[in-house]
Symmetry: C2
Subunit: 211 residues, 2 copies
DNA sequence: GTGATTTACTGAACACTGTTCAGTAGATTT
DNA sequence: AAATCTACTGAACAGTGTTCAGTAAATCAC
């Protein structure tokens, strides 16, 4: 059935084209300012056509949310090259904040907005695998650190989670603009980058003490 | 000019009525589902009237954002009664998370959404005093802890900030619903409350070690 | 008391939003 | 050639924040 195949291919092409257009618009203008009609206009189809491939806007959000996780996990994977686990942990912290800073819209989609996750909520079979994959990367590194004498006696799952909370907290304060208002209050810091790095460095100092 | 006074009073009354109605609707249905028309209907005025008292929706957001901070700072003030600074620090952590859990919409308004802050952005004279007040509470407690031998050698401002990042991270993961998805992955925890408390307790254990 | 002015307020509109659905043009099958 | 199926769309629905000309009533000046 070559004809069926060609049709199937075209269908998948269009679905991918929609996603690409959505992504470009989101990264360009942020999703607050990206509408279904904008996406439709970009791909030169009617808005209704999008709904033949995606149930609603949240399903597009979810698809991009997954793309974001691929990006993040890939970054983490390159850090496997760092053999010393504590050095790797530090590198992961910087990589995480870097990711959030350079892809604030992706970060929002992945860790802040609840809309993309609503796709999962209804389907109990699905779970948040992307999130767990990324978290296991952290947890494994923490456990390796423990074999080298760090974080003695701490339950790795819970402790890893507190680490995630800290960097996530910093990332959200930064991407939401609240960090900028904090910076304006303590005028000694020159720019956002400086405040971010200083905070992360301070936290690493704290972790370093836990040997 | 008694007439002027009466008019002024009525004007301020109406402004307060708008805010009260907005607050009730926000807490009732969340602000995603609260529109200017909803607020207008509740106070039995036309939508356009609201704009005579508030520049736009963000200005209402900002007013509620400030109310939220009064609430939080008041909670913190009652904790001044705890004399031991480390015990106070612990209590503040629980109070903070508790506040976020019981007032998720206020928390969103205060620490997650950037819209309310946009009122400040334009007016350079204004700064984020509310946020700074709350933060100073934390920083002072941390500094008191240092006199008792905790957190030796750590620069208090930066270190306090990492503490805020951690509890803020936990609070946002919880209110955004991401914590629930994490909980579903590690099935051993019964409910959200348990995960939250366990995480906070683990973090307190970490801090306790820093003596 | 009467006319002019100011104040408080509103109806209707503008330009959007996500989403649905009847209807159509064209390809494919019978 | 007629019937079916597929891919797609125009137009509508029910909303959103916001603006502005216009109105009714209160106040002021004479």
């Amino acid at each position: 059935m070559g004809i069926e195949d060609r049709k199937q291919r075209h269908k998948e092409d269009l679905k991918a084209t929609i996603l690409r257009a959505a992504k470009e618009l989101f990264l360009e203008k942020g999703f607050e300012r990206t509408s279904m009609r904008n996406i439709a206009e970009k791909i030169e189809y009617s808005p209704a056509t999008i709904y033949l491939h995606y149930k609603d806007k949240n399903e597009i959000f979810y698809a991009l949310h997954q793309e974001g996780f691929k990006l993040l996990v890939n970054t983490f994977k390159t850090l496997s090259a760092v053999s010393d686990p504590f050095e790797r942990l530090k590198a992961m912290g910087y990589a995480y904040i870097n990711f959030a800073t350079e892809n604030p819209d992706f970060y929002q989609l992945m860790f802040v907005m609840s809309e993309p996750m609503s796709v999962l909520d209804l389907d109990a079979a699905k779970s948040w695998d992307e999130g767990q994959d990324a978290f296991l990367f952290l947890q494994n590194t923490v456990m390796e650190c423990q074999t080298k004498g760090y974080f003695k006696g701490l339950e790795p799952n819970g402790f890893s989670f507190t680490i995630w909370c800290t960097v996530h907290g910093l990332a959200t304060l930064r991407t939401s603009g609240h960090l900028e208002h904090v910076r304006q209050a303590k005028t000694n810091m020159a720019d956002l980058e400086a405040v971010t790095n200083y905070t992360l460095q301070t936290y690493i100092n704290v972790l370093e003490r836990m040997k």
